[in-house]
Symmetry: C2
Subunit: 347 residues, 2 copies
């Protein structure tokens, strides 16, 4: 079989046969690329996101170097919160900061519920431009943060190990929590639909921090809202990838949220995930990002192990288990992309 | 059946029937107790550990308040490293710091391999005194850090999210890594044996950070050494608990390390763990520590869910999925201990 490159990733999302395993990498546009660092020297993070020409340029950077099977629009999960009236700052070294966190019912009532077109409109514009630029040669992935992850940032005001404020709200004032999650999942669902209208051909929900919860909390306080985001996104007809980290103990619940593809982190074997989840869902992942800093032999061994676990069956998209690390040597990424294509074709 | 309280925990470790589910709590002696905070105001952390009378006093504090089924000696996982010649500081706010981290073969060769009696002798003394004080009324648990967790601290010099130095050493200089793990697992094995000679009736290996690794790295760089520590500890005849966090994706590999009991964190259902691991191992856990800050009704609901998942079968020790948080109200701990005893007796 000879699959057009434009179709390889999308077919794998739908669990259709492909000629080679498609590969793209989370944070494939990022600090490990000198051309990205050069732009970051001149512009703040939020400037790069808000100026569609710059966001498109960054989106395309890794595609000029590597034979990747999908593009992902350059943006961040937090800017959509600004359309709710939330102030957002990126502080050098500290990452994103929300100077006035949302901690109670009053704060939650104060959050605007914007129209779809008002949510990070610069990213919607960038998707339009990037899709035109790619002209169907490669699919473009849009994305949004998961409602728990957004609620975690909103309530803490910054990144956190344990999201104590979010969890205190769940337990102490569940009505407030549910009101917040209701607003956030509507925001995320609307935003993902708008991205498809702008030209995105697939969507990824980044519920990066949901692995801080145990299964019971996930079921009660998060799952209904993740499912709602995914339902709204899927209603557009494009495939939806649900990525999370630290959720190896509750992959079945992640599956219950209903995505087409489940994005695995590196801390669970792909074969175990497949055994537990069955064949009714595609899997994306899950090379340890650190493996890209290992000697070439070990890098290939680990990549081959993932392909072996995927077993050449339909429904696997190769990716890392988290974003590319800034220390990653470029030639290692190049080798990985070639190796995955060649090795999977050979099988 | 009426089990003596002195036997309840040890019988459960051996998967023998008991009248009620035994319960103890990781960090049951800690900052949530005013009597502990009072001592911490007067003494540095390392002073409390190094003065056996103080360590014994802290060990006994929670037993005066709660009907717990086991004591655990008050200490820390890092002091044994001092007996290798490593300098260790506890910096207020930052936790433990190793000013001169171990980064290469030269550093590793410089690490002493102490005799068992030289390893944290003050903790060995404290175990002797505490065991005498408990006089067989309650079993006393000794503990040590797992070799990966110790190597992580040693190479980073402080706590870390990703242990990049440890992982760089694994990949770039595997011989150095294996030499380091060899020394550390000998240290840990000897130290755990010495604790049993001093009077410990059970041992817990805290491999708290091993969940940062994927399964392939765990098998290649850690499992043989964890197994060796556990083998050495079990050769004394006391039961060994192997606790780790973030390892829901590789519980089967944790089991392969050979402990009598597997300590689960809160991010995997106990019923799932039981289904995957079979009946040949006891399970400890796994209430989310945050649940102790939730309203009473929810706390009990979550505790009942864990007992239900354990199904009244032999081989369950109730515990948290991680240490007691400093914000935990004392009356919640009291309620939990009573509830677990009553509810499990009723079943």
């Amino acid at each position: 079989m000879n699959t057009e490159q434009s179709e390889r990733f999308l077919r794998a999302c739908r669990r259709e046969p492909v000629d080679r395993t498609p590969i793209w990498l989370m944070r494939q546009a990022g600090r490990y690329l000198p051309e990205y660092r050069k732009l970051r020297e001149r512009y703040q993070m939020l400037e790069l996101i808000r100026q569609p020409e710059l966001a498109v340029e960054i989106t395309l950077q890794p595609l000029r170097r590597f034979d990747l099977d999908a593009a992902i629009i350059f943006s961040d999960i937090l800017p959509p919160l600004e359309s709710m009236g939330v102030e957002l700052k990126f502080v050098a070294g500290d990452g994103p900061v929300i100077p006035q966190p949302v901690r109670n019912r009053h704060d939650i009532r104060g959050l605007a519920q914007p129209e779809a077109e008002e949510i990070a409109p610069y990213t919607q514009k960038a998707i339009e431009m990037a899709a035109r630029e790619l002209a169907g040669r490669l699919p473009l992935i849009g994305f949004a943060g998961g409602p728990f992850t957004l609620a975690g940032y909103l309530t803490e005001g910054l990144s956190s190990r344990d999201f104590a404020h979010a969890r205190a709200m769940m337990y102490q004032d569940p009505d407030a929590w549910h009101a917040l999650m209701d607003k956030l999942s509507t925001l995320v669902g609307n935003y993902m639909q708008a991205q498809v209208r702008a030209g995105a051909q697939a969507l990824q929900l980044f519920d990066s921090w949901v692995g801080t919860l145990g299964p019971d909390d996930y079921v009660e306080y998060v799952l209904p809202y993740s499912r709602r985001c995914i339902d709204m996104a899927r209603s557009t007809g494009v495939p939806v990838i649900h990525f999370s980290t630290g959720t190896a103990g509750m992959l079945e619940l992640i599956q219950a949220a209903g995505s087409d593809v489940i994005g695995l982190d590196w801390r669970v074997g792909l074969s175990q995930a497949r055994a537990r989840l069955g064949d009714g869902v595609a899997l994306q992942g899950n090379l340890d990002p650190m493996a890209l800093t290992a000697p070439r032999r070990l890098l290939r061994e680990r990549a081959a192990s993932i392909l072996r676990q995927a077993g050449g069956k339909p429904g696997h998209i190769f990716n890392l288990g988290h974003g590319v690390l800034k220390e990653t040597p470029i030639d290692q990424v190049e080798d990985l992309v070639e190796f995955v294509h060649q090795e999977s074709e050979r099988r």
